[in-house]
């Protein structure tokens, strides 16, 4: 039970002032700009967007700054901001076969049609600290002149365009062959057809179990990366293994189309960065022979580790559907889906820091009564480590008395 208390306003105000000083750090160093965070800490921004369930890089960067780099706190801030906007509606389904790729790899097919594109990756780096980064390399470059990182442009508008560019038709995005297509041709991979169901929306519905896959995938898309990573790892260590292979991992920009009510036809509102991962896993024996099964995830932003973890967990959560023996937490829907949201989890865990004085008083008086009853029956305490207080003031009471004003503020709180 939690009972509200009053008081401490001045101290709280001072603490917030202290926080803003601490966040600013040494005033002799330049202050971080939101734009710098957005461009240079883009993986933090991506993680915050995915877990807050809001694609808004500028606001996510602001949240990272405000939270002084605490990403769980930043997710909380952005999720709260998300709650203040009205809903315009649902987008058309993203056509991820047309994603403009910045990265695409497959661990199953080395000769992937279209090739493997590494893109900017930490893979194959030596994980040695690069002390060159301690030096600012482009200090002298004026803000307007630096080369903009591909794919994340927010610019002053000057773009060098070749003069001879005659109006050509924009190259029609080609239909890329996916690794799944190859397996589907051979009929050794479970199909993935549009069954035409209206997807559930966890933003609007209360959580209930069993949860169908559309809501599971939405829940995984906003779940905490660390939680999903550990769950995925647990399956690899034997708590419900799914034998995953990374069939395809893609990061890139996709055009988001939305049909405004007043227009009645879909229009492209912009391009957003997405990460998509598909795993192929061991078999299900259907009527027409064994087939590979699949795990899938599609996330906002550039979140490769999370995408792979989520795809593995998606596959684990299909245990019931595929008639698998459940051997680990990652296969338990309620365990996974009810505990992965960092806003909910940190909210409920952190609330323990709030005053529970009245609560605790109740427990104190209960334990004292219990002990008094035992004493009166003259029983020897089972635990010798707890000394019997013989009429003396108890240590806990002494601690309370030191803080008399706080006790005052508690009166009547019950």
């Amino acid at each position: 039970m939690y009972v509200a208390v009053k008081g401490g306003a001045r101290a709280i105000e001072a603490a917030h002032e202290k926080l803003s000083q601490k966040r600013r750090g040494n005033p002799r160093l330049p202050e971080l700009e939101v734009g710098q965070i957005k461009e240079q800490l883009y993986l933090s921004v991506s993680r915050v967007m995915a877990e807050a369930s809001l694609y808004a890089p500028r606001l996510a960067a602001l949240a990272v700054k405000q939270a002084a780099g605490d990403l769980v706190e930043a997710v909380f801030l952005l999720r709260a901001a998300r709650g203040t906007y009205p809903s315009f509606g649902y987008s058309e389904a993203l056509d991820t076969s047309k994603t403009r790729l910045s990265r695409r790899i497959s661990a199953t097919w080395k000769d992937l049609p279209g090739g493997q594109i590494l893109g900017p990756t930490f893979d194959y780096t030596h994980r040695l600290l690069d002390f060159d980064l301690e030096e600012l390399k482009d200090r002298k470059v004026s803000a307007g002149n630096e080369r903009k990182p591909a794919a994340r442009i927010r610019a002053a508008g000057e773009e060098s365009v070749k003069e001879d560019a005659r109006p050509k038709k924009e190259p029609r995005p080609k239909k890329r062959l996916s690794p799944a297509d190859a397996l589907l041709l051979e009929d050794i991979l479970e199909g993935e057809e549009d069954r035409g169901n209206i997807p559930g929306d966890i933003s609007r519905e209360t959580q209930s179990f069993p949860m169908e896959r559309s809501r599971r995938l939405q829940t995984l898309a906003r779940a905490d990366e660390g939680f999903l990573l550990s769950l995925a790892y647990s399956t690899q260590r034997g708590f419900g293994s799914t034998h995953p292979f990374v069939n395809e991992m893609k990061i890139g920009m996709a055009e988001a189309e939305f049909t405004p009510g007043e227009l009645g036809f879909p229009v492209v509102v912009g391009e957003i960065e997405i990460t998509e991962c598909e795993t192929v896993n061991q078999f299900m024996g259907a009527g027409d022979g064994p087939k590979f099964t699949r795990g899938y995830s599609l996330l906002l932003g550039n979140n490769e580790r999370k995408a792979l973890s989520a795809a593995i967990v998606d596959r684990s959560l299909r245990a019931d559907e595929l008639g698998e023996l459940k051997k680990g937490p990652a296969q338990d829907q309620e365990f996974v889906l009810a505990h992965g949201d960092s806003v909910e989890a940190s909210g409920f865990v952190s609330h323990l820091k709030l005053p529970h004085y009245v609560d605790f008083q109740a427990e104190l008086s209960l334990i004292r009564d219990l002990r008094k009853m035992r004493r009166e029956k003259k029983e020897v305490p089972e635990n010798e480590n707890i000394p019997l207080a013989s009429g003396k003031e108890r240590p806990a009471e002494r601690a309370f008395k030191k803080d008399e004003p706080e006790r005052e503020s508690l009166r009547g709180a019950e």
Binding site: L54, Y55, A56, R82, P86, S87, F88, G89, Y90, S91, L94, T96, S97, L101, S102, R103, G115, Q116, I117, L118, G119, P120, A150, A151, R154, A155, E159, V161, K162, A165, P167, E170, S178, A180, E192, E193, R195, G200, D201, R213, S214, R215, L217, Q218, A221, E255, F258, L263, F265, P266, V267, V268, V269, G270, E276, E278, R294, Y296, L298, L300
Partner: protein, 156 residues
């Protein structure tokens, strides 16, 4: 709904989709520079002031299967009317003013005095977008690998 509006919806739907996409995918500063280059334009009436809202993005399971919701994207919306011509702006809410510039351009594209200028401008935008994407694809292409497996000395 005005007569011009109705015509636009029925006849110019493909054209409107094309230009709205280009306005959404282009740098807001380019749109704003172009607008200020037009000088004095007829006073727009704001039917919907620039405001932000959420569009829930949808994907398909496995890329081709049933729909599911991924999360929301913050979108900005403006609707204007310039001398009876409506203009709609729907863009990402990253840069303030983006949807407003898009809506003004969309309305002007329906206006006989400006139609041709805007048409030429959208062609320029299309070129710019193509160039930018080509450049980015080339940069990404530099990281394309061809993996090959080493012969391990076993007999075939």
């Amino acid at each position: 709904m005005t007569a011009a509006d109705k015509r636009a919806l029925e006849g110019g739907q493909a054209e409107r989709r094309r230009r709205m996409r280009l306005f959404g995918l282009s740098e807001p500063a380019i749109l704003e520079d172009f607008l200020s280059g037009l000088g004095e334009i007829p006073t727009p009436v704001y039917l919907k002031d620039p405001s932000e809202g959420l569009v829930t993005l949808r994907g398909r399971m496995g890329g081709t299967g049933s729909l599911f919701n991924i999360g929301e994207v913050l979108v900005s919306r403006t609707v204007v009317e310039i001398e009876g011509r409506r203009g709609y702006g729907y863009t990402l809410a990253e840069v303030p003013g983006h949807s407003e510039a898009a809506a003004l351009l969309d309305a002007l594209a329906e206006h006989p005095l400006y139609r041709e200028t805007i048409r030429r401008f959208t062609m320029e935008l299309e070129d710019k977008l193509r160039e930018k994407r080509k450049r980015e694809a080339e940069e990404t292409g530099e990281t394309k690998v061809e993996f090959f497996t080493l012969k391990r000395g076993e007999d075939d």
